[in-house]
């Protein structure tokens, strides 16, 4: 009984804290301890997810409000059409002036997003995370940072979404829309029985190849040597990818950020663990 009470108090505290931080005008950075969530989620179960039926129907305007295009009103009213074609027309969504080009799959508490945002101010960066509380944390963090840096117009190019990318990546992105995908410190799923749940596999790599444009790059980093080997083997075995040579890898500014700025990266640093980095370039599809 005592345990229940403590639990309830904790939950209540969390809710109060989150409600307070979400109020208008508050630009305080959120504290992680009110957003912690178990580090694993089952990608196979039917979470209550919100996702568009297709990329055309995705409303990006709430994530990137500063990029919304003001469309003249008369353009939005369609010409009189038959009822059938009206049914077919995708729901009218507010357009934004740019497409998301960088995705951080499993963005966690958003360290990488926040570090990347100022380095590529003209590119829209999207974090995708399956855990609800963690996504809320990143949302609140971005909101606070945008408010704090309003004059410098920083952090307007980052957004976060709750999504199960293993299932619904093509619902968000069109073919060849992305130029970079980050996969940082993914869940290692040590048991062989759970390998199907790993975020990198030959069959899933085909989906990454689909959303990446030729020349685009997948960035991977992990502290688990075997997972690193696994990712390298699976990307190497996939005909749509080639490994980026080490020289080029180390010259990429994103690699340094990925090493030092991700939350997991910092934790590994504290524990004096190893960090294994591998980059893969999307090749052109073969002729047929």
């Amino acid at each position: 009984m005592g345990g229940d009470k403590i639990k309830k108090d904790k939950r209540q505290k969390r809710e109060e804290y989150r409600a307070a931080i979400r109020q208008e005008g508050v630009s305080e950075l959120p504290r992680k301890k009110f957003y912690r969530q178990r580090a694993h989620a089952n990608p196979f179960s039917d979470h209550q997810l919100i996702y568009p039926p297709s990329p055309d129907q995705m409303d990006w305007s709430s994530l990137f409000p500063h990029y919304v295009v003001d469309e003249p009103q008369d353009q939005q009213t369609p010409a009189p059409e038959t009822s059938t074609s009206q049914d077919l027309a995708p729901l009218k969504v507010k357009r934004i002036s740019k497409d998301v080009e960088v995705a951080d799959i499993g963005c966690g508490f958003g360290g990488l997003l926040i570090a990347l945002a100022p380095t590529m101010p003209d590119t829209l960066i999207l974090g995708l995370e399956i855990r609800v509380s963690v996504t809320h944390f990143v949302e609140d963090r971005i909101k606070a940072l945008r408010a704090q840096n309003d004059e410098a117009k920083l952090y307007r190019n980052v957004g976060v979404l709750r999504a199960n990318t293993m299932k619904f990546l093509p619902n968000f992105f069109r073919k060849g829309q992305l130029s970079k995908i980050f996969i940082c410190f993914p869940d290692p799923h040590f048991k062989a029985r759970k390998h199907k749940q790993r975020i990198v596999s030959t069959t899933l790599n085909s989906e990454y190849a689909y959303v990446l444009r030729p020349g685009g790059i997948v960035y991977t980093i992990t502290d688990v040597p075997n997972l690193h080997e696994w990712m390298v083997q699976h990307f190497d075995a996939h005909p749509s990818f080639e490994r980026v040579p080490e020289e080029e890898q180390e010259a990429d500014p994103c690699v340094a950020i990925m090493r030092t700025e991700t939350e997991e990266g910092k934790k590994v640093e504290r524990h004096k663990g190893e960090k294994h980095v591998a980059l893969f370039r999307r090749l052109e599809d073969p002729a047929w």
Binding site: P53, S54, T84, M166, K175, F190, T203, S206, A237, H271
Partner: protein
Amino acid sequence: MTLPYHLVKVCGSIVFAAQGGDIHSFSSALQHISTWKYPAVQQADESKAPSAETEESPAPEGPPAKRRKVENGKDSVSNGQPKSKKNAQAMPKRPCALALTSDNNTILSADKFGDVYALPLLPTTTTTTTGSESAPSPLPSQPQSRSATPSTPTTTTTPAAGQTPPLFKSQANELTVHTKRNLRALENQKISLGRRALAEQLGANRPQFESTLLLGHVSMLTAICVGTVSVAGGKPREYILTADRDEHIRVSRAAPQAHVIEGFCLGHEEFVSRLCVAPGGKAEVLISGGGDDDLFVWDWVKGEVLGRAAVLEHVKGVAGQEEASKVAVTRVFACTWEGRTGVFVVVERVPALFHYDFLEDNTLQHRETIPLPANPLDVDLVEAAVAAPRLLVAVDTATSTSTEGRGSSLIALEKGEAGWRQSRVEDLPAGGDITMSTTELQKILYSTESLRKLSDFD
């Protein structure tokens, strides 16, 4: 009670119908020819009676000419024994849907875990002994277990190679686990490593035939089909179309480039359960149905929706406005006669066949609802060449409301001037008796609606 016929398939002039583990063959005049029995079912374990894989694996879909080759020269009709089980192939996961490639040499098996495997219709060993000229292309044999080593899309599992599988390797180390408890677990893992390695060596629990992993979804696959598009001045291009429970229809290139996803047909908001490619010979058109209220018509090459056709509203016409609130499409079947293309749709637990016209401008128009005495389970076209098309429908007689609905579970529908004339196929072979409650049987026969997502947890 008696099992209903739940699958019908017409191959040239032979009609196959499955009843639990039995497959019966009929002539096109619907005279019974022979019966093949699934061995396991005869052993009285009825728990896994009617399911797709028991029916389809021994009955390769293909024209009779092809079948004769399979039968190694035996004339399949004249000896009255057209079916012999050519190969029993155990798959790593339960197959959900099967398709044949356009060269009729490879089975594509889509499974519950989301993977599509290619397996030769005739195992290589068989083809070499029979000296068939069309042996599947030999692939580099390289042992692999799906989980432990990278499985390239063109890797073949050939356990006959007899090489030792890769041993279990501990994935964590002292640098990646930090808590005391995890470190202790790591110690224990290392201790038990030897035992595990031994078990790995002994229990080579892998499929005993060639299979190639082509592609995969992270979702249960529900349908697979092969589409072919001709290219001006080139070889026709073959694609694999796969549908899953998470509303996707994926278009991939066929092997050996199955790793290239060409596109998606996105727009369904519920599971997709049925695909029908190239209705009326229009190669680039796809009709899909599932848990949505409408059928979708796609240009699958471009990934564009061409139109939708309501199903729910016509289901309401049969089942009542109030009773029917959702549909689960279980069959979408297109056939052409007299220059017209008809699309027949079966909806789970609805005692009617929905007939749509597939028009020149790629739209589907509801033509009529053909009431049936009981729930249809499958439908196929027996004869198209004659002026009046003849359909064969398998129905679940147990769901019939009237006594006249009982009896034969195969119904022939013939297009007459006054609509569709229904006649029971009599003189069906005896068999199909099972000891199973009606509810249990219904659960097996009507499984499509269960694909709908219900759970609402975070």
